[in-house]
Symmetry: C2
Subunit: 339 residues, 2 copies
């Protein structure tokens, strides 16, 4: 791909003022991504706002047809409709797009990539590379090494997803509802169809014809595409819980060959991007509040499923904004530039 002689790159962040956009900017800086220019783009609403990058204030500009001139890599996280509108335009301007929305994920021409799982898929890109759904990413990082070892036949997953996955307004809604409840004020909801504070919502995203939500179908379809195995049977129930950061998942798998819990722990203690926390004597297991701000996908509570011959239960937790979105996108960018 094109870069400057000094091997630095012009990077655009589309949706820079959002929860994931903010995190992308932090991670570019944190990981010392070789940046020539960082161009921060958002909707008209945020035009003129300033954000910090490497101790400099950068003015946010609205996204338009000239936004991608001279851009090498465009990181999109502004929702599917803005990706559909501007990603092809960015590609025509010569940029490679890494898109965090669902717009292109299931497009056969677009690689859907988790660097620890299918980095090879990046090479097939035609300008756009898709970043998977947050709840899918953390699950496949843990399941891929198991699949390689003993082949996973079936997955039954139930999620416990943080509000930050919805965006900044949802973080504010959970805060506001909680404050209102403690102050005996009326609780209002705008972002979610029901109160999220001190409640669990068994609905993430809209409903599909088959009564599954879009989020549940993303987990089913994206997992097969990333692991590159359509024969894995998957069913999912996606639930929003009153947690700010960190998605948790209760994952039950059935495998073709037997893998004991001890063998699974050994396998996962060494797996890329995975951090095993499974010390029940010390009451240690993955927790959303401890995963927040961290890069790894945490796994614990590994138990043999005694209801079938060859099965395991696992508890998988990760920072949905980092590994579930911003970090995964930047890891893809790092592979692209050969870091």
């Amino acid at each position: 791909m094109s870069g400057s002689n000094k091997k630095t790159y012009s990077v655009a962040v589309v949706g820079a003022t959002g929860a994931v956009g903010n995190e992308m900017i932090s991670i570019l800086e944190e990981r010392k991504f070789p940046v020539k220019e960082v161009r921060l783009l958002a909707s008209d609403r945020s035009d003129g706002k300033k954000l910090e990058f490497s101790e400099k204030n950068i003015t946010v500009k609205k996204t338009d047809s000239s936004s991608f001139n001279e851009i090498d890599i465009a990181l999109f996280s502004a929702g599917a409709s803005r990706s559909k509108e501007f990603a092809p335009l960015a590609v025509r301007s010569g940029a490679i797009v890494i898109d965090n929305s669902s717009a292109f994920r299931m497009d056969p021409d677009v690689p859907l990539v988790v660097p620890e799982v299918n980095p090879h898929a990046i090479a097939r890109h035609k300008g756009i590379i898709a970043n998977p759904n947050c709840s899918t990413i953390q699950m496949v990082v843990v399941l891929k090494p198991i699949h390689d070892a003993v082949r996973i036949k079936r997955i039954v997953v139930s999620t416990y997803q943080a509000v930050s996955g919805t965006g900044k307004e949802a973080i504010e809604e959970l805060s506001q509802q909680t404050r209102d409840l403690f102050n005996y004020r009326e609780v209002k909801h705008q972002v979610y169809p029901h109160q999220i504070s001190f409640n669990c919502l068994p609905q993430i995203d809209i409903f599909e014809e088959n009564h599954y939500t879009k989020e549940e179908m993303k987990m089913i379809n994206e997992t097969k595409k990333i692991i590159e195995d359509d024969t894995i049977a998957i069913t999912a129930t996606a639930v929003r819980v009153p947690v700010f950061y960190g998605h948790s998942e209760s994952v039950n798998i059935e495998t073709e060959k037997k893998l004991t819990a001890d063998e699974a722990r050994e396998l996962l203690s060494d797996a890329p991007g995975v951090k095993l926390i499974d010390n029940i004597d010390a009451l240690e297991y993955p927790l959303a509040i401890k995963a927040a701000g961290r890069d790894e996908v945490f796994v614990g509570r590994i138990r043999e499923d005694e209801s079938i011959e060859k099965g395991l239960n696992l508890w998988i937790v990760s920072d949905n904004i980092r590994k579930g979105a911003a970090l995964n996108a930047i890891q893809i960018a790092e592979i692209l530039i050969g870091v």
Copy 2:
């Protein structure tokens, strides 16, 4: 059993000052249980405290060897160790014990009863009848009619359990941690091993040898005993969530005969103790905050599991203090006295 000529009964509530004990007192009144005397018992700590029943103040007494004289029915909810100590004594005094603790649940001589599921088991009692674990009760109320119709081969359940299941101190801990977080104060924990506010804890009760928690094993073992079918294969992951009242459960089942989602909805719309809420067009499904204070077990999000030939996903919610504990115990008492 013994009762007065006017068919009224002397009822003792052991653990009267706890979350479940409080609810038992309310429900006795609400359902106009034919009470001659309500005797409120607790530990030394609560001796002399006053609680209201039918607009009268009743003094709480400490539980001792004379506590059960003239008592017909003793409702126990003071923990397994106090049940082990005092339930046999109550039985010797002539009372029938309905015990909400785990002390006798798996004792082959003790019926473990959910009135909608196995009321016939009550007749076998030898003085003690056990009330099942809260997360088990709500699950079997929904699954029994399905099992009768198409036989359930396997259950994979993940729970989202409210803090009230732990007791009053846990309700206070969630409140206090939440207030502390919003006031930038240090968050402390005493009841739970980790912060519960804005977090999910994949541990309920202590760990067993096989790495499952006691709560998970209760769901597995009690379900088989209540449904009276040891061939049902069950695996469970029990998780505490920052919700005050109402346990939610993501339940995946595999059945011997096919049951479509529509057939399941029809079956459950008519099942005893069950309230079907499954109108996704109106974004209606069971919610913990709406189940709180209600008697029914709510079920919704019923979907055919496309990962197997004959399977369903269900979302089951109920008030863990009412149907999960106090109400179920009093329903057992009502059957005992023939109401």
